[in-house]
């Protein structure tokens, strides 16, 4: 589960997630810096929870900047990496830039992501680069994969978020082109209407109206993404990236129960994958 789905203080989220039977948690920087007793208390709460940290999010708008803007973002990245490390997380999520000041030149993006990966090496952190569906230059996973492959750094890989893939109607066949070892995280979610045509709609839906897999109207797509990733050999973590305003005003156990049902739905998909009829020829 991801803390962004739940309301309330960090400790309550950790407790609800653990009591629902989950063993991992995806953390957001605001969980840590927003803790009333400070960052150290937040880190201690996470460590005491016994939950494994799936990853830490989110570094925004890092790549493609120059001069003072670039230097500023490097400082932000270092602070994020330090927090990620303190939490015992080995994955930092970095989203493709939406900044109008960012270059779209692939050599610039490659250079900056290599730098980010280098910053992460001594801290034992892997950087998962995610194509936001409203990213300025990089908004589909084939683009983020091209950049990650070109950068060719051991600790730089991809995050695949089903929402962005579905929102931009990216060809799912292209998932087969990605080296599964270079996918560091998969985030799953769905939403409740058929299309999100404009950038504004995509942002609005992504930030307020996602639902758990199995609850939305693109179940077949979420299922296909999950199945394809599994078939290509992806064996890493899955996390529910469900931003939902309703869920943030519902009791935590109720939301966690919905997440549990979603796990059941996905497990059903995965168990079916072993049936010969479901296997690709």
């Amino acid at each position: 589960m991801d803390t962004i789905t739940l309301a309330g203080p960090l400790e309550a989220k950790l407790k609800a997630v653990r009591e629902a039977g989950f063993t991992q948690i995806m953390l957001n920087a605001t969980d840590i810096v927003g803790h009333p007793d400070g960052e150290a208390a937040a880190v201690a709460a996470v460590r005491a929870s016994g939950l494994r940290v799936t990853g830490f999010q989110v570094l925004r708008d890092f790549e493609g900047l120059s001069g003072t803007l670039h230097a500023y973002k490097v400082d932000v990245a270092k602070a994020m990496l330090d927090m990620c490390h303190a939490l015992g997380s080995t994955v930092l999520l970095a989203c493709s830039s939406v900044s109008p000041h960012a270059s779209g030149k692939s050599e610039e993006l490659v250079k900056d992501l290599r730098k980010l990966a280098m910053l992460a090496v001594p801290l034992n952190i892997r950087v998962a680069y995610e194509a936001l569906s409203w990213g300025r230059h990089v908004n589909e996973f084939p683009q983020s994969w091209d950049i990650v492959a070109e950068a060719d750094r051991s600790n730089l890989g991809l995050c695949i978020d089903s929402y962005h893939v579905i929102a931009n109607q990216t060809d799912l066949e292209l998932l087969e082109d990605i080296d599964p070892r270079k996918i560091f995280l998969v985030q799953l979610s769905d939403f409740l209407w058929q299309e999100v045509r404009s950038k504004e709609e995509r942002i609005e839906t992504a930030r307020h109206s996602r639902v758990f897999p199995g609850e939305g109207v693109h179940s077949d797509k979420v299922a296909e993404i999950t199945r394809k990733l599994d078939e290509t050999g992806y064996r890493g973590d899955y996390s529910f990236e469900v931003f939902n305003d309703d869920y943030r005003q519902l009791p935590l156990p109720m939301v966690c129960e919905r997440a549990r049902r979603s796990v059941g739905w996905i497990t059903g998909l995965v168990s079916r994958r072993s049936l010969p009829a479901r296997r690709r020829a």
Partner: protein, 285 residues
Amino acid sequence: MTAAERNPEPRNPLGIDGIEFIEYTTSQAQAFGALLQKMGFAAVARHRSREVMLYRQGSMNLIVNSHGAADPVPTVNAIALRVRDAAFAHQHSIDLGAWDMPTRASAMELHIPGIHGVGDSLLYFVDRYADFSIYDVDFIFESNIKNAKPPALAGLHWFGVVQAILPDRTADWLDFYESLFGFEVLPRGQYFGVLPKGTLLESPCHKFYLQLIEPPPGAEDVHWDEGLVRVGLGAPDVPKAVKTLQERGIVFVDNGAVQPSDKGALTQVYLGGVTFELVVSHLKP
């Protein structure tokens, strides 16, 4: 002629030219000093204002930093790399994503730029090693002879440093040393010394090596941190070096897979965690 041939990738972008010094930290400076003397090092200078000593043997400089040290176990804390231009090397590394060294962390008051290495260790860049000694600024030499260089026992010289890393981290650290400094991986199977494991990296100047070691299989219960764990000393004739050091009271591990040979030798663990490795080597530092 292709464009790549006309503009070759700089094989040694920082002009690395060997190891200027290795720095240890320990709170038991005297006991470690006594061990170093058995190993053939001589205390040649002390820092003007801090608890820092300079030891030498032949071409090797070794600094023992006890200034504010809490841990008694002598630990390799820093490698100082000789480079063409220290300021350039530092800026180049930062531009590529290295972490700058915390201010005033250096053993020296003379400003030596540096970056974070593995674990808590640092990598310094030193460019004044040919005509001018960096030690002249900070140190008072025992005999007022500034270039005191006690001869090396049995031709001992820096061979390299062993670095422990976490499981599945070899590729990450290869990226680090290759892209920052131009180190190159030696083919698998090309090992030196008595501990044939891990991954060996050769410096772009061909003057020293780094050995990356992940925990061995079955060591899941062993506490294993990342860090610089040991220096390797090169010797043209290992059995001769072993004999010389044994005569000075150094004990070498001699059991099972690890025993002194023509290829190398490993000392016993001293002072709760420090060892030295001998490796057959004809390097000319």
